[in-house]
Subunit: 346 residues, 2 copies
Amino acid sequence: MVKGNHMRAVTIDDVAKKAGVSIKTVSRVVNREPNVRAATKEKVEAAIKELNYRPNQSARGLAARRSYMIGLLYDNPSPNYLANLQSGVLEACHEKDYGLALNPVSFHDPDLVETVVHWVRQSSIDGVILTPPLTDSIPLLEALSQQNIPSAVISSRGTGDAPAALIDEEEAAYEMTRHLIISGHRDIAFIKGHPDHYASGLREKGFLRAMESEGVPVAPGFMEQGYFDFASGQEAASRLLDLPKRPTAIFASNDDMAAAVIFEAHSRKIDVPGELAVAGFDDTPLSRQIWPGLTTVRQPIRAMGHQAAGLVLDTLAAGKGADEERKDVIQVDFELMIRGSTATSR
Amino acid sequence: MVKGNHMRAVTIDDVAKKAGVSIKTVSRVVNREPNVRAATKEKVEAAIKELNYRPNQSARGLAARRSYMIGLLYDNPSPNYLANLQSGVLEACHEKDYGLALNPVSFHDPDLVETVVHWVRQSSIDGVILTPPLTDSIPLLEALSQQNIPSAVISSRGTGDAPAALIDEEEAAYEMTRHLIISGHRDIAFIKGHPDHYASGLREKGFLRAMESEGVPVAPGFMEQGYFDFASGQEAASRLLDLPKRPTAIFASNDDMAAAVIFEAHSRKIDVPGELAVAGFDDTPLSRQIWPGLTTVRQPIRAMGHQAAGLVLDTLAAGKGADEERKDVIQVDFELMIRGSTATSR
DNA sequence: TTGAAAGCGCTAACAT
DNA sequence: ATGTTAGCGCTTTCAA
């Protein structure tokens, strides 16, 4: 493959000339539009191949008023979450020859809605994927829908406002709680997730439902507020472990907080899992890298990213707008990962 | 702000009208071209701000024959590394109204060079940023240079093949090793990094230099090969801790492997730091979330991403090609983070 | 220092 | 089933 530094790029005109058709016909073939005779199509495809033609994305975007890019919106997710999600989204984009534009935003920005809509308009982003907690901003969802911007959400309230890829958060928390109860625990404390996240409520609900259905009471002071970060987990853990009658098990709403619980236990010489069982949520690498290994809930973030991107791209492929929005909800399976932090035999 | 469904995006004409100048003048301001009176410039900037104008990338790309995008190439970095780096790069891109295109590739792909060059050409990517170990692929660097594709590397052999943002890896390893020696250790083992990474060699060199200069011999079997992942750290740690006369300190070439050392120590009831001191490299969140806290070397990845993007964008701004490539090397400061895993008084 | 005019390569709307 | 004609919003010439 020899190329000079300033080789003129092959354009649609070159292809049209070589195939002996108009540029519009070439355009039709490239965009897989109907109404092209098979023979014509073949001629054009041959010319494209011979010239090694690739449409200029800028020209395409300018003329068609779209960018052939979808946007990923996020607010300060954990590195692990972002990397996995992005990897899945990129994969799906790659399959459909779409590009990915990233946009880190702030959930609490009063101009969030305007910022996002403006970004989409100015960049001609064709569709967007939202991640928690942005997925739980009703004004944002409404604006996107009203502005006819195709979108999909990762995890969400599942109200069907937009297509979604999610797990059954409540059921996952329910099952994890049952695991603790079945392991013999009755003094189980819970550290809640960040209140901005709708999923936090679901996890809490799952916990409470399991306790109630098993007839295990939640002791006073055993429900602590956390914010998904290590520091808040540490504070919550401190309070719980300083209680006169401390819990024998703590279920934290995510792994970072669970790791903080273990950290605090270690520093007080409280044996995990002997004196204290700990469970988390997310199955981050961290859960395998601390000692003892952390029992947690695995969600297939990567796959969910892939699915969500697929939902957006399907909408795009279906109708050029998001008019007849298909409000799919893809529920994927979670998995309980039982590790050392809740081991019973020792 | 009321907007209909098909609100026309703000264009350069709107800005020109509002500022009372021609579109060319707006263009000059946007592109920071010279020969614009300060007063005019201010008027235009005010209009841009008021209308919240962002240039249409497709139109820009079409007219200027470039994409206004830079590419970020990576091969399976740790989530934390990727998230931080990307954040810095995005920030720099945002400042200059550039877009970012991501490209996960494989260092061992025999078609790596062709894949990358083709991708850059097809997408009209204006320049690229390489991350380790891609930064250490001579053929890749040569191809980019030969094809006149502006690029910058994050960390590298520092040979000046391309502009780079890096820390003094060897010196960092040297100082960490000295910290261990000064803390009273003499039986110090080292777990090497992935051999694909040039930095691995530098870190090893720093370790050996410190040992030698302090007159501390490296015991047989005290140099272990690792691959930067937790599993390889575990294996290396197992071998080291099973030695008849085991080390009193282990310096692992990154945090994941150091965490594995601590994990293995815990599971053998070896007290850290009492019986075994452990040091890592990277200052990942993990280093603060395991117990005891991990002594490590902090590199400002985010800042390095920002710098590297700046180097590429500067090249782009300077000459339209990378003709008179400025082979800058920006060295940023590292920092020793001393935490519990190497504490002396207990 | 500024502006007017001419495209960049493609798709959309309307021919035929 | 295929072609013609206008732009899309910007940068580039070149002129003033």
